[in-house]
Subunit: 187 residues, 2 copies
């Protein structure tokens, strides 16, 4: 059984190498629309869809993510890997959709996940690659948290949920192999 | 800007009236496949996709949800509404995809949301209506929690995350109106 939608869901993968150029504005707008069309618990829509195309700000977030990781013992291994290899934490993505959420809403993490998959699926349908990330949550645990919330225009009381990197793919990337053991039918 | 995928995302709504008949098996299998093709944090796939087509079990879960709600003060208003109106909590859905998660994984709620939207989008593309629910979480807070985990074949250590009702729509249902104020561009 197949159709365009099932194909797009199957072909989506988490891109690890983005090209420099920003995808067309109308594609980014269509992707943002898909996010706000997502279902949420009792339709509370406890998220904001912040489409960052300011590369300087994305680079500043990347540097701040690495800096704060260096202060947090839990991230020591990953920090050492990043700083020793010069690995690009955000894979050179020219666009990042930040999805802050109202954490007072007990379903906001679920709803944030729902919206982030709408972003990925819509992007994939337009030839735009995606990668959901959470690592930059540490920016909002550091001493410059409020500064970054302001730069990103977080709504009052909202906290970082997830982010989705977007851009044109610079290399082929295979989807993960689905694990059929993850499916159970109870008939 | 439009294509089949963007149309399906836009046209999806949370169905409140399902027809009795079960959608074709191959559609349910395609929907389950879409779920396991979802991205998850470091590809941990901290979910199980449990497709329940046993209507007696779905009805039993519905009755148990209402029973446990009646014991929980936080649900008093909703319980009174359900019991006084005879409202069908699961909207007569012939199928329920239960998504239990590994709550020790700090990203499992996000990942569960991601997978649930894959279910909804795949379903919509096949003409199958959907409705993500969390209300039956109370079943897993009641004194019969372990019994229901067994009946549903929850993997060891997994807890209820979300569920998605599936079936053919018995009535038209409009999508929610997207709120453009939920989108911010930072250029």
């Amino acid at each position: 059984m197949t159709n365009d939608v099932l194909n797009v869901i199957r072909e989506r993968s988490s891109c690890k190498a983005f090209a420099d150029e920003l995808p067309e504005r109308e594609k980014l707008e269509a992707i943002a629309q898909a996010a706000i069309q997502s279902p949420s618990a009792t339709n509370k829509q406890p998220w904001q869809v912040i489409v960052v195309t300011d590369k300087a700000l994305i680079d500043e977030m990347e540097a701040e993510t690495v800096r704060v990781m260096g202060q947090l013992p839990a991230y020591k291994g990953f920090y050492d890997l990043i700083t020793s290899t010069g690995m690009k934490l955000f894979y050179n993505a020219p666009c990042m959709v930040v999805l802050p959420i109202d954490k007072k809403n007990p379903y906001s993490a679920y709803d944030c996940g729902i919206a982030s998959q709408s972003v990925c699926i819509a992007a994939q349908s337009l030839g735009v690659a995606s990668h959901i990330i959470a690592i930059n949550e540490v920016v909002f645990q550091g001493d410059r948290a409020e500064e970054f919330k302001d730069k990103l225009h977080f709504p009052e009381g909202y906290e970082f949920g997830l982010a989705v990197l977007l851009g044109n793919p610079a290399a082929d990337n295979a989807p993960h192999t689905p694990n059929p053991d993850k499916i159970t039918f109870v008939d």
